[in-house]
């Protein structure tokens, strides 16, 4: 994978650079930002994250399982304690809830990992240490012949540094 990487000190510059790159039909653009900024969300126009669906599904599975455990346990040895019903639904709600939170929560995190493609083994290509610090990065995946065009766009928007990577 090869492309052009531009580093910006100013957020507005980065935003405008992306806008122009999109005008020039540069498809695969990635922004590196030290902190989530809505400016980029607006300009990138990504669809909302799918994580929530995973959360919903696994939350429901969790609560079902959480109810099933105690009911099954109680019925395995139908022992009478303190004159309570063998499968007592009301107190089992507690277990249902806890297991829902456990499974739903963990599922959410793993879904996030999966969708954000982490853990990833390498960060070298198209990344610069400064992007976690103070600078915004724009990484354009492009074939060598259009690389110069991308570089000029980035430069003219005042990128602090622009370089080709492969």
């Amino acid at each position: 994978m090869q492309g052009v990487l531009g580093a910006f000190n100013e957020i507005d510059a980065a935003v405008h650079a992306i806008e122009d790159l999109k005008k020039d039909r540069f498809g695969d653009i990635t922004v590196f930002t030290p902190t989530p900024r809505h400016e980029f969300e607006h300009v990138m126009k990504h669809p909302p994250s799918k994580v929530r669906i995973v959360t919903l599904i696994f939350g429901l599975c969790g609560v079902t399982f959480g109810y099933w455990i105690p009911v099954w346990i109680s019925d395995y040895w139908p022992i009478i304690v303190g004159g309570k019903a063998v499968a007592a639904w009301v107190p089992f709600t507690i277990l249902g809830f806890e297991v829902m939170v456990l499974i739903g929560g963990l599922a959410t995190v793993f879904a996030m990992f999966a969708m954000a493609h982490i853990p990833r083994l390498t960060t070298t290509v198209g990344y610069d240490a400064r992007f976690s610090g103070g600078q915004f990065g724009v990484w354009v995946v492009t074939d060598p012949d259009r690389a110069d065009q991308a570089m000029t766009v980035l430069k003219q928007h005042g990128a602090a540094e622009v370089r080709r990577e492969r």
Binding site: W77, P78, I80, V81, G82, G83, K84, A85, V86
Partner: protein
Amino acid sequence: MTQDTTTSGVKRREFLKVLGASSAAIAAVGCSEPTGKLIPYLVSPDETVPGVSTYYATTCRECSAACGMIAETRDGRAIKLEGNPEHPLNHGALCARGQSALQGLYNPDRLRVPMVNEGGTWKPITWDDAVARLAQALGGARGKGGVFINQHESGSFPRFLDGWLAGYGFEPHLSVDFEADSAAIEANRRTYGVAWPALSFSDAKLIISFGADFLDGWGASVPQQLDFADARAKLDGAPRFVYVGPRRSLTGLNADEWIACKPGSELAIANAFAGKGSIQQAATESGVDAAQLQRIASEIGASKPVLALSGVGGADALEVALAVAAINQAGGAVGATIKPAQAITSFDGMTTTAELLGQVERMRAGQVGIAFVRGTDPAHYLPRAIKFAEAFAKVPVRVSFSSYPDETTELCNLVIPDLHALESWGDAAPIRGTISLQQPAMDPVYPTIKGGTADFLIAVAKKDAALASRYSVDSYRTWLIAAFPGGAPALATALPHGIANGSMGGAAAAAARPAAPATITVQPKGTGEGDFFLITYPSPLLGAGRGANKPWLQELPDPVTKICWSSWVEIHPETAERLGIDRGDFLDVKTSNGTIRAPAFPYLGVHKDAIAIPSGQGHRSQAKLAPFEPKHHDASQVQWGYGRYARDVGVNVFDVLPASTNAAGGFAWTVTKASISKTGDNRILPSTEGSARQHGRGIAQAMNASDLTNPPRPEEKEVLPGDASHEFLPGLRSPVAADAQGELGAPTAQDQGTHKGLYDPNDPRGMTRRRWAMTIDLARCTGCSACVTACYAENNIPTVGAYWQVASIWAESRPGLNIERGREMNWIRLERYFEGNLDGKFGVDFETRFVPMLCQHCGNAPCEPVCPVYATYHSPDGLNVQVYNRCVGTRYCSNNCPYKVRYFNWFGYGEADRKQYAFPEPLNWQLNPDVTVRGKGVMEKCSFCVQRIREAENRAALEHRDLVPNEFTTACAQACPSRAITWGDAADPNWTVAQLAHDRRAYHVFEELNTYTAVVYLKKVNHPAAGAPAPRA
């Protein structure tokens, strides 16, 4: 079945060793770590099936009364003692002391070999060497005078002994029972011609006791208690009971009215009641309101027959006893409530204390060449003023036949350990015309002991040319068989019953003993300086001291004060307040004879001008021994001072008593005055008592007899005492309370197998039909606590009070520390609540209620749902079950138990390798193989003797029959000498308990908590004096 016990050639002691080793494995099951294998017999001896009990009828020797016992043996070891139902004296009941005989048998400090004291050091010798030494010594002592001090026994051993002594030219032995009331015996002799007529409480209209503690050990207490309970169980027809005395003993606490007279003033009162003196004078002398005395006097006149008893401790005991006899004669008692015809002969031929003291003086005068002592400990109970040790030392040859390293034995120079009563042959004559048989229940624990005292004496006599001819028999057993009417065959048929008619020949010939130098002055009452009368009394549990080496008796709280592992000074709260004395303040009690130090116990039931101290504790040793250390203890080291459990516990009250006797020669207990002073240090008493008041919580409920007869007016129905609320019946009708069934509600559901339960559907015995339950009749219960000891014996409950049963590092260590911390393990406990006289004023009467409290086996048990691991749950037959191996010890169940009847193993009491181990070898031989010994960190509680239930069910199943109603019962119910506890299946109307549960006196403790308990209490019934209603609750 019986002769084999000793003659069958099988060496049972071999496998006893094996089992001794494996018992550690039994003990370890509870803690689930180490497990081991029981090694089976190589050759099984006759009539011994592994795992199946054999029962031997024998006789209890713990006191003079000689009750009949059944010894249950398992694999050759006695594991439980129960009363012999066929026995005419105790009819199957047995007191705490009797049951503790097992811990005398298996006492870890029993002497195992004959020993000789040479130059101050003890040297073990062989049996034959001991025989030789004694024979030689006897040769030297002939004619120099010999004294044999023996514990009092009825039966033929005294005769045998006197015969043996006579052979050497010695006078007859002294037959000593220090606790016996010689004055009463003497008075009985003079009045009725017998030492102890049968007393019938149930025939009396009025019982009046002048300090006669017939429930604490005065006389033959078990039969007396049985009869007294039956009398009280007549409810509205029951006799009223008035107690006269300066201290309210257990007997006094069972009285309806207490006449708190000054010590020593009983005589005046008795005379007044007998019409020989004026009420007015009695009132002034005793400090009791004249009107009250007048009322009682007229009551005596009105209610015939009366039963008046005298057991005062003063020096005028005989006079009082005679005056009381007069009351009886006037009150038509003779023949009605006092039956000389059926005399109790247990006390015949008893030596008085005066005689004993006389012999001591002979020793001091150097007129005694050889002295023997057996089964009694004068060095402990003779007042220090006597200087017994000094006098005893003047005797050149001092022989002890004691099994225990007691104070007297320590003074001897030759010790030949006796066999325990459960290991040896003998007989007793409890009732005129009957023979109570004593047979070995097992082979000797220590094979090094080759025979009992009698066998030893025979062996010695054989060495003597002159006597050998008279002792042709090989052992005492053959001697007995010869003496038994009908000989061997008759004996063989009688032994299974433990009782026979007839007599073993003439009673001990009371040959004249040389008169003692008269040095004993009969002291007038209340001598000595000090502002308090010092009341001393034999402890109902430890007696004059012989019970002190048995952990069960040490751990069993005193029925009155609820203190264990300690001595105490009872003082009236009013006096205590005046002197600024708090509970647990250590007091110096000073008399003209010395000073002792003990903690104070403010007690409503003692006269405000008196203090009371029990006897029994304060055993000590001449040799200064290091404190007992279980980890580095070698068994050969003798624990002088009466053993590890008794030594240095509490104080010996005899240190401060003068040596004075009453006119009958009996020891005068309450004769001196004492002064008390605070020492400044205070200690939490090792007591199981939390609050002595119910705070209106209705745990122990009572009613007046009149309420039973007068029908209640409807509007006060709710508050009417004795009207059984039947709210709880659902809990008893169905196997498990109907709403406790949950989804298994329909009793048929399980039988149809619609639910697979732990037991159903393939439970052959249909457990789900049953609901085990218990009723406890508080009108019968006297608070004697025999049930508690029975439970300890049956369920392997550890005792935790010994001073080394504490943490290892930086831990304070003193007797009863764990009790101070409330860590006692009594599955059933006797609660003692006071009613009335809230502000503790003297002269205001108060009522006492005893409540045996044990696991209530609730239908809706609060302890069950909170257990995270199902370690406690409800069995189909209504038991609240505790699974030790499953328990992880969260102790949540105990927090949630309203009755607080769950007990936790704070230490490894059941683990043999631990400092806190409660069953040091060979005490562990007594452990019941049917019951797990719990390890550390698990909760335990009353199981309704589930092992007995399952055994009975299995037996019934094997015999293809159903359980017969009342065919078995729990250990506590079996032992109860008041028959207050009834146990059985409440779901089956044929069991007694099912009927009693519907009694109108029935109630449940904390019924409002909807626990549907399986234990039903029947209200106590009070008989208040006219115009003095007893408090209700």
